[in-house]
């Protein structure tokens, strides 16, 4: 009887083991599966072109975009951002004093995980913290100055490969997992998750909009959107996605938004920064 029981236990464990292994967080495996999913779904799209969102999905739109890039609508934001970036604060310091490599060509490393604080730090958050540390008031996270600053910083990182690190810290893994869960969770009265549009339906239209693939979606931030008649940050994009599903947006730079940006950026590692971008 004891022998039979032991055998049954071993068999049960053997059956359960793969299921348990499936639930163990494995960002590297997620990243591989995520990238392969889009390559398989869109075999004709050049890999690096995924960062161009809806333009990678539609040949006609791609042509329009190429023409638009001759006189890109985000150009003013880049110029303004450059000026803001080099203008000293009242205490004489500048943004360059707050960042590695004086803030130039570092966009691809954000969001980063701060092991001291145990939280994800986005570029937008780091910029406002820099301002506050130097006695300046923080900017609105959604547009205007913040969009201009991040547009300039992204521009100095163009074509650099996204390079997000998940340190060996259980809190970093937890933040990544929280971001992943947020991405796939349905919300709002329309019962949509981020994945409903950007995994299940990229290339399809919602009204007149062509939906962008989730792969590389953060690489183009911030963006000029014709629909907004202006620039918007990652915070603005996430809040708009929420309200489009009839969910009340969370506060900008809430843990959820920071974590989902961390997740989406990590799975896009290896793809070039294309920001600032322009979208219909």
């Amino acid at each position: 009887m004891v022998k039979a029981f032991s055998l049954a236990s071993i068999l049960a464990l053997a059956l359960l083991a793969p299921a348990l292994a499936d639930d163990k967080p494995d960002p590297a495996a997620d990243q591989k599966a995520f990238q392969e999913f889009f390559v398989k779904k869109f075999p004709k799209v050049k890999y690096d072109d995924f960062v161009n969102g809806p333009y990678s999905m539609d040949e006609g739109l791609h042509k329009q975009w190429e023409e638009k890039e001759q006189f890109p609508p985000y150009e003013f934001a880049v110029e303004t951002g450059k000026e803001m970036f080099s203008t000293p604060f009242k205490n004489g310091k500048t943004y360059a004093d707050c960042f590695p490599n004086k803030g130039i060509g570092i966009r691809q490393n954000y969001p980063t995980f701060d092991e001291k604080e145990g939280k994800v730090i986005t570029l937008e958050l780091a910029l406002n913290r820099c301002r506050e540390a130097n006695g300046e008031a923080p900017y609105n996270y959604l547009k205007d100055e913040m969009a201009s600053l991040t547009a300039y910083m992204a521009f100095t990182s163009r074509d650099k490969k996204m390079d997000i690190k998940i340190p060996s810290d259980p809190r970093a893994l937890e933040a990544y997992e929280n971001g992943k869960r947020y991405f796939y969770t349905r919300r709002g009265q329309l019962n949509f998750s981020c994945a409903t549009c950007h995994v299940q339906s990229p290339g399809e239209r919602i009204r007149s909009e062509v939906l962008a693939p989730a792969l590389g979606i953060m690489n183009a931030m911030p963006i000029y959107r014709s629909e907004w008649s202006g620039m918007g940050t990652t915070s603005r994009r996430l809040a708009t996605c929420n309200s489009q599903t009839r969910a009340v947006p969370l506060e900008p730079q809430s843990d959820e938004y920071r974590d989902v940006e961390y997740f989406l950026s990590y799975v896009a590692n290896g793809l070039p920064i294309s920001g600032p971008g322009a979208r219909p």
């Binding site: 995520f34 009265q189 994945a195 299940q200 009839r246």
Partner: protein, 102 residues
């Protein structure tokens, strides 16, 4: 009440000719409190819906204008929407995995 009056009242109710009791401010307050409690729970789950907020605002506005029937209807709608958002947030705690790319 005589049997004749009871029959008459029944007929009037059945034909809808007897006016229903108008909703009171107290009825509205009870309906609104229930909706607000549900929305608070949705907020704790980080899953409030815009439509719930709209109905709550509509209810308040109607009550301020003294239209308690409309206010109660909006509050009840808000409560139903908030309950749906709670259900969604609760069921998604495990269901999100169905959508995951593996």
């Amino acid at each position: 009440m005589s049997a004749r009056n009871i029959v008459l009242a029944t007929v009037l109710v059945m034909t809808g000719t007897l006016p229903a009791r108008a909703a009171s401010e107290a009825d509205f307050k009870a309906a609104y409190a229930a909706a607000e409690a549900a929305e608070k729970q949705a907020d704790q789950l980080r899953n409030k819906w815009i439509t719930t907020e709209t109905e709550l605002a509509t209810a308040k506005k109607a009550a301020a204008a003294g239209d308690f029937d409309a206010a109660i209807a909006a509050a009840r709608e808000a409560e139903a929407l908030a309950n749906a958002s709670i259900y969604q947030a609760t069921s998604e705690k495990t269901r999100w995995k169905d959508m995951e790319i593996r």
